[in-house]
């Protein structure tokens, strides 16, 4: 069965496949995918934008544009080599983030206004300058405020710090503690490729379409 010819054929196929692999090595393919994804999340008073084709391929050097709800462009920038771009929250409204990658790939993501607020930024942009030195002052002299917050909150200590500053400090501490968690959540929420449901659903549609057309054609026949 295995004639010399079929051996020759097999080795030809293997050679061609190897050639393909070899060529693949030499063309670091920039964006061979069907779709680029963009995802954004809030970290403190900044928004992190990530563009990617799949888990391992990030969209590097892609144009990121941020639009307000009125369609006005607020800012733009490019993603770095990790596919990341971050910007300071320009205004607390819905932000539409549009990422344009090479070869006709484009995607957008809308960051809702309440996400911006939920990220601790309601008090942030205004309080950030004030809260930084406040936090430092609290920590450096190992003075009363820092200690006062930690124990089971004795009444006189609370009265030494007014509500706004306390809130700012808590915000900051929470941000710091929650940062890894937020990052993990953001990654888990990232949109990614189609799952089994979509694939089987699509095949089902094709079969259904086939059935419909065949049914109609079979009725049309005499």
């Amino acid at each position: 069965m295995l004639s010399a010819e079929s051996y020759l054929k097999k080795s030809l196929v293997i050679l061609a496949a190897l050639a393909g692999l070899w060529l693949g090595m030499f063309f670091p393919t920039p964006a061979l995918a069907h779709k680029v994804y963009v995802y954004a999340w809030v970290e403190g008073d900044r928004v992190q934008v990530e563009g990617y084709f799949n888990r391992s391929q990030k969209a590097q050097g892609s144009l990121v544009e941020v639009f307000g709800p009125d369609g006005r462009k607020l800012l733009e920038g490019k993603t770095d080599e990790k596919g990341l771009f971050s910007f300071k929250i320009p205004q607390k409204t819905d932000l539409k983030i549009v990422l344009t990658a090479s070869m006709g790939h484009k995607s957008d993501y809308t960051l809702k206004a309440d996400e911006l607020a939920g990220g601790g930024s309601t008090s942030r942009p205004t309080l950030a300058p004030a809260s930084k030195p406040e936090a430092q002052r609290a920590a450096e002299p190992a003075g009363q405020p820092a200690q006062a917050v930690r124990p089971s909150v004795p009444a006189p200590a609370v009265s030494q710090i007014d509500g706004d500053r306390l809130r700012a400090m808590i915000d900051e501490a929470l941000d710091r503690k929650l940062e890894p968690l937020i990052r993990a959540m953001a990654q888990a929420n990232e949109p990614h490729g189609p799952g089994l449901t979509e694939i089987l659903g699509g095949l089902g549609y094709i079969l259904g379409l086939l059935g419909i057309v065949m049914y109609m054609k079979s009725r049309a026949k005499p």
């Binding site: 010819e5 054929k9 030809l12 196929v13 061609a16 496949a17 050639a19 393909g20 692999l21 060529l23 693949g24 090595m25 030499f26 063309f27 670091p28 393919t29 920039p30 964006a31 061979l32 069907h34 779709k35 680029v36 799949n54 391929q57 344009t100 090479s102 070869m103 006709g104 790939h105 484009k106 995607s107 490729g193 189609p194 979509e198 694939i199 659903g201 699509g202 095949l203 549609y205 094709i206 079969l207 379409l209 086939l210 057309v213 065949m214 054609k217």
Partner: protein, 204 residues
């Protein structure tokens, strides 16, 4: 190969749609409806092919299969690819509904060209002619698709050669793999189901 929504200008979208509609109409007129199941199977293969990622070096590529569809379906590749792309757009968000015409044209037109240029050679009984013709069909279909994508992007203000070079460089591995895949498939069909290789046009 899927151009996203909101990139191309209206005239490009419109001309893509016109070509796609015309091609689909021709395909549907020529189709022998008794062989519709074969079309459905190939449509399914096209639909899932883009999900099969083959690791190549540091990145991965996926098959497109338009060369094979051209050889086996001729003009019927138009409706088949259109259906596959509609489902990919709706279910996977690849491409989009407004770019459907352009994407269909960029993938199906090379398929039809393959059918006319290489169909007879791929069916021939001379083994090496058949193998090389089907390899060229798989390879060339992607090459032409890449050129069409680049051409569509040119009208958005990008200049042709840089885009074309980028698209083609990214697709060289796919071209080779797809060429091998089509060559192997055609030889396999010849042995197992030679009747599938006959063109599925209705006889009039």
């Amino acid at each position: 190969m899927h151009i996203s929504e909101g990139i191309l200008s209206a005239p490009v979208l419109l001309s893509g749609a016109v070509v796609a509609v015309a091609g689909t109409a021709i395909g549907l007129r020529k189709l022998d409806y008794d062989r519709l199941p074969q079309v459905a199977v190939l449509t399914s293969a096209f639909f899932v092919a883009s999900l099969v990622h083959i690791p190549v070096g540091p990145s991965s590529v996926h098959l497109i299969l338009n060369g094979l569809m051209g050889l086996l379906l001729g003009w019927v590749a138009f409706p088949a690819i259109l259906v596959g792309l509609i489902l990919q757009a709706v279910l996977f968000q690849y491409g989009g509904l407004t770019v459907l015409g352009v994407n269909t044209t960029s993938m199906a037109l090379p398929a039809v060209l393959c059918h006319y240029a290489l169909g007879a050679a791929a069916r021939s009984n001379m083994r090496y002619l058949s193998i090389s013709a089907s390899f060229v069909a798989g390879f060339g279909a992607i090459l032409l698709s890449g050129l069409l994508v680049a051409a569509a992007l040119v009208f958005t203000g990008e200049s042709f050669w840089p885009v074309a070079r980028l698209v083609l460089a990214a697709h060289v591995p796919v071209m080779v793999i797809e060429g091998v895949f089509v060559a192997v498939s055609v030889q396999f069909l010849k042995k197992v189901r030679p009747e599938l290789l006959e063109i599925i046009y209705a006889k009039r």
